[in-house]
C-alpha cells in the first residue's frame, strides 16, 4: 500500500474539500455514536466490564510468551499448524507457500486489518493467485482499488451511487438496465457474484479477533457470514493474527466480546461469532482439511515493556475513530496508511516509524473522547502526547511548528511576561471582535478560519478572570 502519512495536512485539506466524502462522513457521525450510547445504556455493568477487559489483556500481555506457547501446543493437539512471522515479508511468504503447496488457484479472504497491514493481497497476486475479498465493504474496495478508510466499516467513504457504478463496470454478466438504486439490490448482486467464488476457492484466509490459549482456538466476529463461508468451504483455512490477539480462556474471550460489539456497531452481539479449532475431524461432513495459524509480530514485541504497551490491548472496535472530531472531519484515507483515527495515530508511528507517521499524533484536539469510549481503556491521548514529544525531540517537526513551540515554551516559563503578552493579545482581539462576536479571517490563523469562525475573546484573560472569581492558586 502506498504510504502517504507524511502528507497528512495536504490529505486532510483535500478531504475537507471533497463533497462526496463529507456527505458520507455526515451519515457516519450520528449512527455509530448513538448506537453505542444505546448499547451502553442497555447494560448496567458495561463500565465494570471495560475494567475487567482491560485487566484480562494486561494479565495476558505480561505473560504473552506463556499463552502463545500454550495456544501453539493446543493447535498442534487438534491437528493444526502454527507459523511464526517476524515481519510482513515473512508472513506473506508463509501464506504464499501454503497456497502454493496445495496447488491453489483462487484464494477467498475474510476481512482482516492485519492482511492490509502486511499487504497480503499484493504478495499473493505477485505469486499468481487470484485473491477475492468477501466482506462486502472490502469487496467494493477491491473493485475500486482503494484501501479501507475505517477498521470495521472499510467502505464507509463510498456512496451507494458509486457502488452501483462499480458493479455496472465489473459485473458485466448482468443486464445493463438492471436497477441498482437501493442497498438491497446491490447486496443481492454481490451475494450472487461471491457465492460462486466461495465454492470455487482453494484456500480461505481470515483474520482473528481472538486466539484462545486454553483450547488452541481462533475466533472471528462477523455480521455478514462471509468469514464463515471463507473458512468452512475451501480445503485449507489460513488464519493470520498478530501476537496480541491471544487471551487465556474461552471465558476471557467471552468477557471481552461483551464490550466489543457494543463499542463497535452498538449491537449487543454480532450475528456470527465463530470458534474454530483445527481442521475437520474424522467423520465431519464439511470443513477444511488443513488449518494454519500465522502469528505475526511486525512491531508488537517492540511495543511491549514501553509506554506504548497499553496499545496492545486494542481489540479494533473502531469506537475511537467513530467519536473522533478529526476523523469525522477528514475520514480515514487522510491518515495515509492502514490504521486511521486515534488508534491509528498511535499504531502508525509504532509500526512504520516516527519519521513516517509522526504527523498523525498531531491530528488530535486532545478532547479525550477516544479514551472515554475505549472499551479497553487505552490512554490514547497520553500516547499521542508521547509521540508528539518524540517527534519534537528527534527534530522531525516542521520549522514553523518548532519555532511556535519554542516561543510558547519561552513565554510559558516566564509567568509575568506570559500574563502581560496574553493580556495584550486578548485585549486587542476582544476590542476588534466586539461587534461581530467572531472573526471570519485573521492573520496567521487562516488554517483555522478557512473552515470555521474564531469566536472573539471577551477581552480578559483566563488568569485574570480566575483571580477575580477568587480561584485558588
Amino acid at each position: 500500500m502506498h504510504i502517504t502519512t507524511k502528507r497528512f495536512k495536504k490529505n486532510a485539506a483535500e478531504a475537507m474539500d471533497n463533497p462526496q466524502l463529507q456527505q458520507a462522513l455526515t451519515k457516519m457521525k450520528t449512527g455509530f455514536v448513538e448506537r453505542r450510547a444505546d448499547a451502553r445504556a442497555g447494560l448496567p455493568e458495561f463500565d465494570a466490564l471495560r475494567d475487567q477487559a482491560r485487566d484480562i489483556k494486561n494479565h495476558t500481555l505480561e505473560n504473552m510468551d506463556f499463552y502463545l506457547e500454550r495456544f501453539e501446543s493446543n493447535v498442534h493437539a487438534n491437528g493444526g499448524h502454527v507459523h511464526w512471522a517476524r515481519n510482513a515479508e515473512e508472513a506473506r511468504r508463509i501464506a504464499g507457500d501454503i497456497c502454493a503447496e496445495v496447488g491453489a488457484k483462487t484464494v477467498t479472504k475474510g476481512k482482516s486489518m492485519i492482511s492490509e497491514e502486511i499487504a497480503l493481497n499484493d504478495g499473493l497476486e505477485e505469486r499468481g493467485f487470484e485473491v477475492i475479498e468477501t466482506d462486502l465493504g472490502e469487496y467494493i474496495l477491491q473493485l475500486r482499488k482503494e484501501g479501507p478508510s475505517h477498521i470495521i466499516a472499510p467502505a464507509i467513504h463510498v456512496l451507494k451511487e458509486q457502488v452501483a457504478d462499480d458493479f455496472r463496470a465489473h459485473h458485466i454478466q448482468f443486464d445493463k438496465a438492471r436497477p441498482l438504486n437501493e442497498p438491497r439490490e446491490l447486496i443481492s448482486e454481490a451475494r450472487e457474484v461471491l457465492r460462486q467464488k466461495y465454492l470455487d476457492s482453494d484456500v480461505g484466509i481470515t483474520g482473528a479477533n481472538f486466539l484462545i490459549a486454553e483450547t488452541g482456538t481462533s475466533v472471528i466476529v462477523t455480521n455478514e457470514g462471509n468469514g464463515d463461508l471463507t473458512q468452512a468451504l475451501p480445503k485449507v483455512h489460513v488464519v493470520i493474527a498478530s501476537l496480541e490477539k491471544v487471551v487465556p480462556t474461552l471465558d476471557d474471550a467471552s468477557a471481552i466480546l461483551r464490550v466489543l460489539a457494543r463499542s463497535a456497531t452498538g449491537q449487543e452481539f454480532t450475528a456470527y461469532t465463530t470458534f474454530s479449532t483445527g481442521p475437520k475431524r474424522d467423520g465431519d461432513p464439511d470443513g477444511p482439511e488443513e488449518y494454519h495459524v500465522i502469528l505475526l509480530d511486525n512491531g508488537r514485541t517492540a511495543m511491549l515493556g514501553t509506554e506504548y504497551q497499553d496499545m496492545l490491548r486494542c481489540i479494533r472496535c473502531g469506537a475511537c475513530m467513530n467519536h473522533c472530531p478529526v476523523y469525522g472531519a477528514v475520514g480515514g484515507h487522510a491518515y495515509g496508511w492502514v490504521y486511521p483515527g486515534p488508534m491509528g495515530a498511535v499504531l502508525t508511528p509504532s509500526f512504520i516509524g516516527v519519521d513516517q507517521g509522526g504527523q498523525l499524533p498531531n491530528a488530535s484536539t486532545f478532547c479525550g473522547r477516544c479514551e472515554a469510549v475505549c472499551p479497553m481503556r487505552i490512554p490514547l491521548p497520553k500516547m499521542m502526547r508521547h509521540y508528539r514529544a518524540k517527534e519534537y525531540e528527534e527534530g522531525l517537526s516542521p520549522p514553523a511548528m518548532r519555532f511556535g513551540l519554542d516561543v510558547w515554551g519561552f513565554m510559558a516559563t516566564k509567568p509575568r511576561l506570559y500574563r502581560l503578552a496574553t493580556r495584550l493579545v486578548i485585549g486587542v482581539l476582544g476590542r476588534m471582535g466586539r461587534r461581530k462576536g467572531h472573526f471570519s479571517t485573521l492573520p496567521l490563523a487562516d488554517g483555522w478560519t478557512k473552515y470555521r469562525d474564531l469566536p472573539a475573546p471577551d477581552g480578559r484573560t483566563f488568569q485574570d478572570q480566575w483571580d477575580d472569581a477568587g480561584g485558588a492558586r
Binding site: 504473552m64 506463556f66 467494493i140 447486496i187 464463515d228 511495543m303
Partner: protein
C-alpha cells in the same frame, strides 16, 4: 535462530525477563487455564430457567429472528410445514444427523421432503439442532460434525433451528461449561462452535442495515418446551 525463538525471546526481553515465567506467575497462569475463572456476569442473565427462556425469546427477536414454541418434538413437523408455507418457501429441508433431528416424526407430514448431510448451496432451507442458547443476547450455539454440518448454517437462504428449553442458559460462560463437559467425554473440541445471533446482515453500504448479506436471510427458532 528461528522466527519462533526470536519472537519469544523478544517478548521476554521486552518484559524484563531472562526466560519463561516461573514460580508463582507460572502457577497462576497454569491454574487460569486449568480452572478458568468466571468474570463479571451481567445480572440480566442470572435468572430462573423459565425467565431465561423469556429473555432468550426477547433478545432473539430483537436480533431479527422469528421464534415459536412447541410442546414436544412430535409437533415440529407441523411447525416447520406451517412456517415454510407462511414464508412461501419450498417444502424441503436439509439437516444433519443430530439425535433430536432424527427423532422428529417427519412421516406425519409426507409432503415435506427431508434430506440429510452437508450442502453445496443448492438447498433453500436448512434445519439444525442447537447445542445451547445464551439468553443474554438470544444467541444460539451450534456445533460442527455429522450432527450439524457447518455449511447448513451459512449457505441456505433460510435456517430453522430447534432448541430445547432445558438448554437455554444465561451467559455464554454456561455454554463453555457444557462444552467442557462434552469435551471431557469426546476427547476434543468440535472443529467449529458457531454462536449465531440472528440472520446475516451488513451495514457496509451507507450504514443501512440489510439482512441476508452472505448467510441466511431468515432465522427461525423453534423452542421445544422440555422443562
Amino acid at each position: 535462530m528461528s522466527a519462533r525463538e526470536q519472537i519469544l525471546g523478544q517478548i521476554r526481553r521486552s518484559l524484563g525477563r531472562d526466560g519463561p515465567i516461573e514460580g508463582e506467575a507460572l502457577n497462576r497462569a497454569e491454574e487460569r487455564l486449568r480452572e478458568p475463572p468466571r468474570g463479571l456476569i451481567p445480572e440480566r442473565s442470572q435468572k430462573a430457567a423459565a425467565d431465561l427462556a423469556l429473555l432468550f425469546v426477547e433478545k432473539a427477536q430483537k436480533a431479527n429472528c422469528t421464534v415459536e414454541e412447541v410442546g414436544s418434538l412430535r409437533q415440529v413437523p407441523d411447525a416447520i410445514a406451517t412456517y415454510l408455507t407462511q414464508e412461501n418457501l419450498p417444502a424441503e429441508v436439509r439437516m444433519g444427523e443430530h439425535p433430536d433431528l432424527l427423532a422428529i416424526p417427519f412421516e406425519q407430514r409426507p409432503t415435506l421432503t427431508v434430506t440429510k448431510g452437508r450442502t453445496d448451496g443448492t438447498h433453500a432451507v436448512s434445519l439444525a439442532a442447537a447445542f445451547a442458547g445464551a439468553a443474554e443476547t438470544g444467541t444460539l450455539a451450534l456445533l460442527s460434525g455429522p450432527e450439524g454440518p457447518t455449511s447448513l448454517n451459512f449457505l441456505p437462504e433460510s435456517e430453522i433451528v430447534i432448541l430445547r428449553k432445558s438448554k437455554i442458559v444465561g451467559p455464554y460462560e454456561d455454554i463453555w461449561q457444557m462444552l467442557r463437559a462434552r469435551t471431557a467425554q469426546t476427547g476434543s473440541m468440535p472443529r467449529t462452535v458457531n454462536f449465531i445471533t440472528g440472520p446475516s446482515r451488513t451495514g457496509d453500504i451507507e450504514q443501512k442495515i440489510e439482512l441476508g448479506a452472505h448467510g441466511p436471510l431468515r432465522l427461525h427458532i423453534v423452542i421445544i418446551d422440555d422443562l
